[in-house]
Amino acid sequence: MSLTVTPQQAPTGRSTGPIANTLTAGKLPRFAALWVLLGCLAVTTAFFVILAVASETGFNIAAAVFLGVVLYGVVIWVLSRVVEGTRKAKDRLVTALVSTAFTIALLPLISVAYTTIANGVPRFDLQFFSESMRNVVGAGGGALHAIMGTLLITGMAALISVPVGLLTAIYLVEYGRGKLKHGITFFVDVMTGIPSIVAGLFAFALFALFTGDPGIRMGFGGAVALSVLMIPVVVRSSEEMLKLVPNELREASYALGVPKWLTIVKVVLPTSIAGIITGVMIAIARVIGETAPLLIIAGFTTSMNYNLFEGRMMTLPVFVYTQYMNQGTDVQAYIDRAWAGALTLILIVALLNVIARIVSKLFSPKTGR
């Protein structure tokens, strides 16, 4: 009886107006935050447009957006504090701050991408990829020698680091135990932290002592320096990939009487090959942009050099650096070449990353699910 009575009484208390929903009472409307943000941005944009018209300067979009976001933080905090209380207000403020942090990180990325493309395109032409800088003063010339050097040195570095890194990873996952495994794991971590310029100094010290030439410069030294930086990356990523191979596969192989080394070569490696190649690609992409070690041990030159073991060898990052730092009389030509080199470098790195992703998509083993 009472069950049927109470609902009849309740509506009589509030005769007029829509029924208040207790679940949304004391809350800002659903899209309030978005509208407040848009409103704040509109206000600051209007303010800066008026300022720009009044003082006849350019429209400062960065300041408008920045102040708009700051204004949003204040407004949403005050609004929420009035309607929802202090705890909710703090939550909304933090949400605004965290989102702002993400946007701040995007700014340099967009700016770098935009300036590199805008400044790099003017000299991003056929001549840039078909000529060296030999006997070029002022405009003209290209970066063929630098691209060649980068490919040779990075290729050599990969040739050294991939076998060493991969075998070390296999040791750590399949064979290693005890102190040696612990030591290697620890020192691979330590090696990850070696500053690139120290790697360059090491290669220099090594070859200067061995050859007895106190001013030694050669491409192979650059490859050694890059290997020091690349090996720990290869070890780390391959190790992670090898660990992902299920033990059941290894045990099935042993049960069939397959020797351990063949199990590794025929079962473990093919299962994890996609991840390993991806890791290697990303490691190459990381070292291909290294400037400092190559500046020290490979030096710089304006001519082609195909011999890794003799003479100075230009590389793309060093090309960018020297073009910018040693500007000749025709300043713009040097700056244009530097930016075109930077654009090429970024494109190579991007390409390597894309290939890495495609490889991991194509070759990853089909799981049962």
Binding site: R87, P195, E290, V349
Partner: protein
């Protein structure tokens, strides 16, 4: 009854292929240890003459090696510390945004966008810093010295080019953002879901949940990520070499045209023209840098290792 006598241990048949392969892996594993030892030995061997060099061998007013390297060590640590100061709060914000705020479906793509920053070569960042960032922040620096010049850090006279240690620190901060973000993101994602749900069930708002469950759990991770970022910033060369207008001074002012330079940048700028004892001096400064970064990295690893024992995630 006595147990059956232990069966003789069955030894797997040792095939030549096995021996060759396992030896190869051990050798390449040991090669890493040898390389690291070689780095230390060769650097020390080439650095030794610098410690007893004549006063005339040093650039500037330095009388001996320690006077020469002093301002460089200060500049290295000062620039890296400034960068860390700017990067860590932003990185934590980004990591939280990706792990707890962004829509699930978007989160991975957003993480990838931040990783893109790590793919930009340092020389491109240097080029960007000197041609875009330095001119853009210079007016801001001018007003900063006008209004806050009484504060020692912002003391004038302001640099006319914007190529100051603060600009360098900003670029360095951008460069170490991805590594700090990536590591803290991983740690935040490992927070036990039960802790988060318990906090939410008790009526905590999202921020209170993060404060109660996520941040305490992730603190060691944040610290070690910051240390790794610091190690990266300490060793970064090209940005400092290209952007900074250097001088051999120890000064905390961040907006002047006289800035302490860093070890790495000093090597990069002077090495191509160095000869004889000058080379040894530069290698010795490199050795000091190696020791500093080694200490920072080992501290970071130590914190990570310690964290593993207490972590509820494994």
């Amino acid at each position: 009854m006595t147990t059956a006598p232990a069966a003789p241990a069955i030894k797997a048949k040792q095939r030549p292929g096995d021996r060759v392969f396992s030896t190869a892996t051990v050798v390449s594993g040991s090669l890493i240890l040898v390389t690291l030892a070689a780095v230390a030995i060769f650097l020390v061997a080439q650095a030794l003459p610098a410690f007893t060099a004549e006063p005339t061998a040093f650039k500037g007013d330095a009388e001996n090696f320690w006077q020469y390297v002093g301002p460089l060590v200060f500049g290295t640590i000062w620039a890296a510390a400034l960068a860390l100061l700017m990067a860590v709060p932003v990185a934590i914000g980004i990591a939280l945004f990706i792990s707890h705020y962004a829509p699930r479906r978007l989160a991975q793509a957003l993480g990838y966008v931040i990783d893109l920053l790590a793919a930009v070569p340092s020389v491109v960042f240097g080029l960007w810093g000197i041609t875009v960032l330095a001119p853009a922040v210079q007016p801001f620096y001018t007003s900063l010295t006008e209004w806050f010049g009484w504060f020692p850090l912002f003391a004038g006279p302001v640099s006319g080019t914007g190529r100051t240690i603060l600009t360098v620190a900003i670029v360095l901060a951008v460069m170490i953002l991805p590594i700090i973000t990536a590591l803290s993101r991983e740690v935040f994602l490992q927070t036990p879901v039960l802790h988060e749900e318990a906090a939410l069930a008790l009526g905590a708002t999202r921020w209170e949940m993060i404060k109660l469950a996520v941040l305490p759990f992730g603190r060691p991770g944040i610290i070690s990520a910051s240390m790794l970022g610091l190690g990266r910033a300490l060793g970064e060369t090209m940005v400092v070499a290209m952007v900074l207008s250097p001088a051999a001074v120890i000064s905390f002012a961040v907006l002047q045209s006289q800035n302490p330079t860093t070890i790495a940048a000093n090597i990069a700028l002077n090495f191509p023209e160095a000869h004889d004892i000058g080379v040894n001096i530069l290698i010795a400064t490199g050795l000091i840098l190696f020791v500093i970064t080694l200490a920072v990295n080992m501290l970071a690893r130590y914190i990570v290792e310690r964290r593993k024992e207490f972590s509820g995630a494994n």
